[in-house]
Symmetry: C2
Subunit: 283 residues, 2 copies
């Protein structure tokens, strides 16, 4: 079913490219256009068949679009929303895939305040990998992934419904919440694990890596993610990350103190509680 | 090539069972015997074809063995080494697969002091998974995994060579070092990641797990490991784990402080350094 005839993706990397591939596989759009800053990415994206058409300007890319997806690093999203707003046609919907929401949605809500013709709805499809670049894009990257769509008093309800439906048809499992609630939840479930993985990898002397087995590899896999992308995410959600960090530090301190004291039953109890939580999700 | 005609595995769970399967696949032993405490495990192990023969007593299992592998939780290894020593034939070699080495090897070296006929060499094949039980045993669990074999002034050099050769033929990549050096290295590369994964899982409210994507799953996968097994490992290597914890805490504090201050270039620098370290190993 086509809810949007023309979909434009601004920023065609791992995420934007995977959305393009999934849209085409599911025939969810009449045409998928990509907007590129770099000619080299454009070439790769067309070769990878991630988009049908390519534009090197925002204006050219968004002017006929029914849905515009901003798939660039967090800090650039409000500016691109402003640019897209300039050229978008009446009734167009703009969404994004940024990993933090309050900073983005607050910024965009302000600038869209007077606009009646173009709507913004914040999204965060929670997939990805430690790889970056359209060459890693996969049509199934988002299948069965969670997706949070944000709602604020300024959000147009029809546009919200359409964006929710869009992600559902793309195979994601969607929840709607406020940007603040998103940032709190995601700081614990995504930002904190990345921070901890980077800290673990950073703490290990290279000479000891020879003995790294699956446990270390799994636990630190996301430390191979793009440092600039993640700094961007961390800084745009710093208050919640510091709070999430406190929860982690508290549990960690409890375990390591019990280990240092040699308190067997206390350590077992803390590990059992953690295991029970982790087993709520599969794999 | 058969270096050991009869191999006996005491404790046939995930690890012991996988050794049995690998030995049989590679025809590295004339006969593989398992020693079981529980009849239910014995039944499962025979069904899984992890061993050729089964014994419910140490005496029956080890008396003709050329190589005895202690594949039980850390705390039980010195006691089982003492039991095995009683019944083992002249020239037999005993090794183990315990995740900490100094406590085990020190304990065993003391009791083997007067023995000229049976040799002990500590081993730590570094594979495994968050699953426990012989039903998860796989013949390829150890393929290309690192394995540390320990050497002390009391270690018999011929026995050491045979144990090193044994793990190499089983497909592992072997390094020889002192038990202390093992414990230091492994506290950073294995024990600490487990501790951190348990802490992460323990810190997250269950209601937020709905939004857990691959990053969270990878980073906390090992928090599904057996709590008793891991408490055992943590307590037997507590001094090194506390030291490894300090290294981790230092790096973590650096990143989170830079995030709180909003220092972009400092955060990028720390993440880049961590990524570079992680990229020394594949996957």
């Amino acid at each position: 079913m086509r809810n949007f005839n023309k979909v434009t993706i601004i920023g065609v990397g791992l995420m934007g490219g995977s959305i393009g591939l999934a849209l085409k596989k599911r025939r969810m759009a009449g045409e998928v256009t990509g907007v590129f800053r770099r000619a080299s990415t454009l070439k790769k994206a067309l070769k990878h068949k991630a988009v049908d058409k390519a534009s090197e300007t925002i204006e050219g890319g968004v002017k006929d679009a029914d849905l515009i997806i901003l798939a660039t690093p967090v800090h650039s999203i409000p500016g691109l929303a402003r640019e897209s707003l300039k050229y978008a046609k009446k009734g167009a919907i703009i969404t994004d895939i940024g990993s933090t929401k309050k900073w983005i949605v607050d910024s965009v809500d302000k600038m869209f305040g007077r606009s009646k013709k173009v709507f913004f709805v914040g999204s965060h499809p929670m997939a990805g990998s430690e790889h970056a670049g359209v060459e890693y894009a996969k049509k199934d990257l988002f299948k069965n992934s969670p997706c949070i769509v944000t709602s604020t008093p300024k959000t147009d309800k029809k546009a919200l419904d359409k964006v929710v439906k869009f992600w559902r048809e793309l195979g994601l499992s969607v929840a709607v919440m406020s940007p603040s609630e998103h940032d709190r939840s995601v700081s614990l479930i995504s930002h904190l694990p990345h921070l901890v993985a980077f800290s673990l990898a950073g703490a290990v002397p290279v000479k000891d890596l020879a003995y790294a087995a699956e446990g270390f590899k799994d636990t630190t896999r996301v430390a191979m993610s793009d440092p600039r992308l993640w700094t961007d995410i961390f800084l745009s959600n710093r208050k919640e990350i510091v709070k999430a960090g406190s929860c982690f530090e508290k549990y960690y301190k409890k375990i390591i103190t019990a280990i240092a004291k040699g308190n067997y039953s206390e350590v077992v109890g803390l590990l059992e509680k953690a295991k029970t939580i982790r087993e709520h999700i599969k794999k």
